[in-house]
């Protein structure tokens, strides 16, 4: 057997040096379930769901953190593997209060998926009945410790993906808990509310306060768009139910943000539903603004433009375009100014 290949479920397949069993298997369309694995971060092997059999090894190996070696024989779907995964899911399910029908993440939960896949009801082990109190003193993020399986994905995301370094594993043994520095409430910690931890949490332990109760995962449709805030141009999914955005998540793997968002991009969407939105054209009359029809307002502006051009020339008109609106709007505005009004007095705050 050549050095760049190994045996995956009896088939000879190639791998790149240093590649993990998990990556090599996924490349070869072989499914290995995972919970704690988070692309782009160091694998921790914490959840023990990706266990596989490696010929010659006494114990099962975690596929995410075991590198392939030439000629290795890997079995991903044996009764032994199945039983071990099932047992581990059973343990995770019993570790907390996983009452899916009340959980915000139902339908968007890796644990729920695996419990179903391995047909587990969570009755094999005794459940703890004491949990740390839910942390939701801040306006955006809810951390429900009773649903945390301590997979560490949130910690990985915070420290390695967005590098905000706000949370870590704290305490030991049965007291284990994900904590901010000094175990302070989120809004009094280093946390910058990017919500990356919420996005990667495979269970209902971390959820968005604003999205709570607005929609079940299967009720929403996802629309891909671009963030309206800074010039990074992050790609995002709008989760929309009944024509209303209920949540925003990052577009996984997409350029430029590769699955990341910041606090503004993730949580700054609901201004569009503000009651203060302008809903009709307005015209000032005797110093007061009053509602007007489109025709009336458009006619008035066109008349004023014409009148100003006649009396003072086109250069007596100046316009500022918006650096926030779409390209097509700016194009139309400069076209109006140049080709209809006849002036180059068009600018935007390019410099701010």
């Amino acid at each position: 057997m050549s050095s760049g290949t190994f045996l995956l479920d009896g088939k000879t397949v190639s791998f790149r040096p240093g590649e993990s069993i998990l990556d090599a298997a996924r490349k070869n369309a072989t499914d290995i379930p995972t919970l704690c694995f988070l692309r782009g971060t160091t694998p921790t092997g914490a959840c023990r769901i990706c266990l596989v059999e490696v010929k010659g090894m006494r114990t099962l190996s975690a596929a995410c953190s075991t590198p392939v070696s030439p000629g290795m024989e890997v079995l991903t779907d044996t009764p032994r593997v199945h039983a071990a995964r099932k047992l581990n899911v059973e343990l995770l399910l019993s570790s907390g209060r996983h009452d899916c029908l009340l959980c915000e993440s139902s339908g968007n939960c890796k644990l729920q998926e695996l419990a179903y896949r391995y047909q587990i009801d969570g009755s094999l082990f005794k459940k703890p009945d004491q949990f740390y109190p839910t942390e939701d003193a801040n306006p955006l993020i809810v951390r429900d410790y009773s649903r945390c399986i301590l997979c560490g994905r949130c910690v990985q995301a915070c420290n390695e993906l967005v590098v905000n370094r706000a949370i870590s594993h704290g305490y030991r043994g049965a007291k284990s808990k994900i904590v901010t520095g000094g175990d302070a409430p989120y809004h009094q910690s280093e946390c910058v509310f990017c919500g990356q931890c919420v996005e990667v949490c495979p269970t209902g332990a971390l959820t968005e306060k604003k999205a709570k109760g607005t929609a079940r995962a299967w009720e929403t449709k996802k629309i891909r768009t671009t963030c309206p805030y800074c010039g990074v141009g992050c790609q995002m999914w709008l989760h929309v139910k009944d024509d209303r955005i209920v949540k925003v998540t990052a577009a996984e793997g997409a350029a430029p943000n590769r699955g990341r968002l910041c606090v503004k991009g993730r949580f700054g969407y609901d201004f569009i539903y503000s009651e203060e939105r302008l809903k009709t054209p307005m015209i000032r009359e005797n110093g007061q603004l009053r509602e007007a029809s489109w025709d009336e307002a458009l006619d008035l502006v066109a008349a004023k433009l014409k009148e100003t051009i006649e009396r003072h020339g086109p250069d007596a008109i100046a316009g500022v375009s918006s650096a926030r609106s779409i390209n097509e709007d700016s194009y139309q505005m400069q076209k109006l100014f140049r080709s209809v009004i006849g002036t180059n007095n068009i600018d935007h705050c390019a410099r701010t």
């Binding site: 010039g231 997409a254 302008l278 926030r324 097509e328 080709s339 600018d347 935007h348």
Partner: protein
């Protein structure tokens, strides 16, 4: 190696900052040049706290060292740049000792930084408004470019001079020709061929050939009567321009003001007509990011009430002035007009913008787009090294106003909060403005943390809570412009870069006072 200058990336461009921080975790060196000890500076190999407005002196000092110690990339400079001798003569006037006097960084540290920058390749330079918002903004940018060319760092992935655009579509608005001197795709209005091309495309006899006014000139024009009708689309000028009192006076003088907006703002108070506009997710269209990536914006819901897309409003006005425009959607505007008229975007069509969009230049429909500019040669031929001199800010501290006010943005808000102020949660995280001051200045005036203080400049005064933090150097006050009452722009100086007319938001002179003692009446 990454050099970040004048950019508070973790707050203004958080996701870009994440990539920088990740690079640091993987071993990249990071140099942060900023008067404030920003969050990014905490992760830096070195934080270099130059004085506000001393960038050119510092950069010239670095280049002095690179040239005198022969550390610059001679081969790159000889084969790809022009103007070396002139640059050399200029930076010779800035030995580290002199640069040090101006920028406050020791001569030894300047030498050390120059040597470090020369030791790794490629190196990336990223800047934001800390570079441009000065009366010497253009010189600052040229200096950054000079440095990167001397180091042989332009034209490579992970190299170059990278401005992070403040707003989502500043790049796009420029690309679209919302500028007084260029048509879409940077074709100059004073070029007869360009005009002929657009005259034909737009079906008009004659397009104006004189470059138009920039925003500060427009605003001045309102008071001196040269501008009668002011058309403001989606900008809150009454809060974002320096010296609010003056700007509002100008807006009041306009004969007629038209606004498009999604909310009433401080600026729409001056409007004679307001058009209600569709917002972000109520439109189909495109944004162009800092890296010239054109990405789709898609509709999630319909605009409220009778609000309409902005492009439609412009089209309707054109119609009423005798011009029938055929495009009936943003897609038609892009595919049938913009990409036909802007050669650098000729290859960009909506059908190609499905996944991750395209980075222009993409001159034809087979072109994959361009991630890195100036790859083998500069777009304009040779890279021009341009000697520049340091000048101080327009207003420097004196006896009456002994501190420097510098301004910027904070993480939880965006501009004048028309959007973030109406997004649940964000306002709770940051509900008011503060004036950030150093512990030593606070002590000198016995100001306590959280105490209300007056901040006063020659233009105005605001009352705001003091935030005492060792991230601010002595002699500096730092504020943002998110909150109307305590908006830094009551104070900022309307002094502008002579070329771009960018205002000096980053430096003016102020004094701070304890409230309760003698403070002037609220202006």
């Amino acid at each position: 190696m990454i050099l970040v200058i004048g950019s508070n990336m973790t707050e203004a461009h958080p996701v870009a900052a994440s990539f920088v921080k990740q690079a640091v975790l993987r071993g990249a060196q990071l140099y942060v040049v900023d008067p404030r000890r920003t969050a990014l500076a905490d992760m830096a190999t070195l934080h270099i706290p130059i004085r506000v407005g001393s960038d050119v002196a510092f950069l010239n000092g670095l280049m002095h060292v690179l040239i005198s110690e022969n550390l610059y990339d001679r081969e790159y400079v000889e084969s790809r740049c022009t103007g070396f001798e002139k640059l050399k003569a200029k930076v010779q006037e800035y030995p580290p000792e002199r640069a040090s006097e101006i920028c406050g960084i020791s001569a030894d540290m300047i030498r050390d930084v120059a040597r470090r920058l020369a030791s790794v390749k490629p190196g990336m330079l990223a800047y934001t408004l800390g570079i441009t918002e000065h009366i010497c903004g253009v010189s600052n940018v040229l200096s950054c470019a000079n440095l990167q060319m001397l180091l042989g760092n332009v034209g490579f992935e992970c190299g170059g001079v990278n401005p992070l655009r403040g707003q989502n579509n500043v790049q796009g608005a420029c690309d679209m020709g919302a500028l007084p001197n260029v048509f879409p795709g940077y074709q100059r209005v004073d070029n007869a061929d360009a005009r002929t091309k657009f005259e034909k495309a737009w079906g008009v006899k004659k397009l104006p050939d004189k470059p138009g006014l920039m925003i500060p000139q427009m605003i001045e024009g309102l008071t001196n009567g040269t501008v009668k009708l002011f058309y403001i689309f989606g900008e809150n000028l009454a809060n974002t321009e320096p010296d609010i009192r003056h700007v509002e006076h100008c807006l009041e003088s306009a004969e007629f003001v038209v606004c498009h907006d999604i909310f009433q703002t401080e600026t729409t108070r001056f409007a004679h007509v307001i058009f209600p506009a569709a917002a972000w997710s109520e439109n189909d269209g495109t944004f162009t990011s800092s890296e010239r990536r054109i990405s789709r914006v898609r509709t999630a819901s319909l605009p409220p009430g009778e609000a309409k897309p902005n492009w439609w409003i412009f089209k309707e006005i054109a119609k009423r002035m005798g011009h029938e425009w055929s495009a009936k959607s943003a897609r038609e505007i892009w595919d049938n007009e913009i990409s036909q008229l802007a050669p650098s975007m000729a290859g960009v069509k909506y059908a190609r913008l499905r996944g991750d969009g395209l980075q222009w230049p993409a001159p034809n429909e087979e072109h994959p787009g361009t991630a890195t500019l100036h790859r083998d040669r500069f777009t304009s031929g040779l890279g021009a090294l341009t000697p520049v001199d340091w000048i101080p800010p327009a207003e420097v501290p004196d006896e009456d106003y002994p501190l420097v006010l510098s301004t910027g943005r904070r993480l939880y808000h965006y501009h004048t909060r028309t959007q973030t102020g109406r997004s649940a949660g964000l306002n709770d995280l940051l509900g008011e403005e503060t004036a950030d001051i150093s512990p030593s200045d606070a002590k000198a005036l016995s100001i306590g943390h959280g105490e209300m203080i007056g901040v006063k400049s020659r233009r105005g005064q605001v009352f705001v809570k003091a935030n005492i933090t060792d991230r601010i150097p002595q002699g500096v006050v730092w504020m943002a412009f998110h909150f109307r009452e305590a908006c830094a722009n009551w104070l900022t100086n309307p002094a502008f870069d002579p070329i771009t007319l960018t205002a000096e938001y980053k430096a003016c002179a102020v004094r701070i006072e304890k409230v309760g003692e003698k403070t002037d009446q609220r202006i």
